[in-house]
Amino acid sequence: MSRSLEPLKLFLTLLVIWLLLNGSVALGTLAVGVVVAGAIAVLFRESLSVLSGHKFTAEALVASLLYVGYFLKELVKANLQMAAIVLSPRLPVEPAIVATRVRLTHPVARLLLANSITLTPGTLSVEMKGDTLYVHWVVAKGTDVETATREIVAGFERYLEKMYD
């Protein structure tokens, strides 16, 4: 997707949020939304929005849907696992901070990856430097980079790679 379409994506994102907040598409509401979203999109055309870098191909849209499904599944799993740990009298934690390698380059894709990792079973993004993402792991299955990357990053990266440039 070419760079020139980025402001349009920002405009549409803002407009849709505005319309959802208002819950109506009356002419006045729509006009205000178009003017304000347009002004923001022009003034902040260099800034990123959620869809910046999204490819908008059929493959990317399918990957987005699969990603949301996978994310929700992981979120529920994360909570059940956390509940099991917290309720266990022994408190079976084996924490470690591990380094993982990230192949994604687009900042929005990386944001989504780091956020997803924080919300999924036992992992918390701590720091990112270059291509290395440091993750705190409540029950570490291994401390080397390969194991950590496979266990933590790969599941989400599979989808995000297809979604973003």
Binding site: G23, M82, A99, N115
Partner: protein, 111 residues
Amino acid sequence: MAVLEFIGSLVLLAGALFLFLGGLGLYRMPDTYNRIQAGTKATTLGTLLLLLGAALMVPGWAVKLLLIMLFLMYTNPLSSQVLARAAHRAGVPLTAKTKHDALAQDAGDLT
């Protein structure tokens, strides 16, 4: 109508349960980082379920509640990550059970 309200109540209850577990996690976990872990996951899912329950009980609010859910999913993990990073930079100790700290080993490279 009554059915939706009943299901909504159950979802609200489930949300409250996860929030309680999150609170328990804050109390039981051994160090800052593990507490953040317990807190983030439970409050995110717990609050999402509360909002979902409210949406089921008052369908007219559903769209706005959905927007709140989206904002929450973007911002909640972000603040946890910033807290964890700040804690590590400030030298907050990890629990003695910690097996490995790749970030401290590489800290020399980080400026």
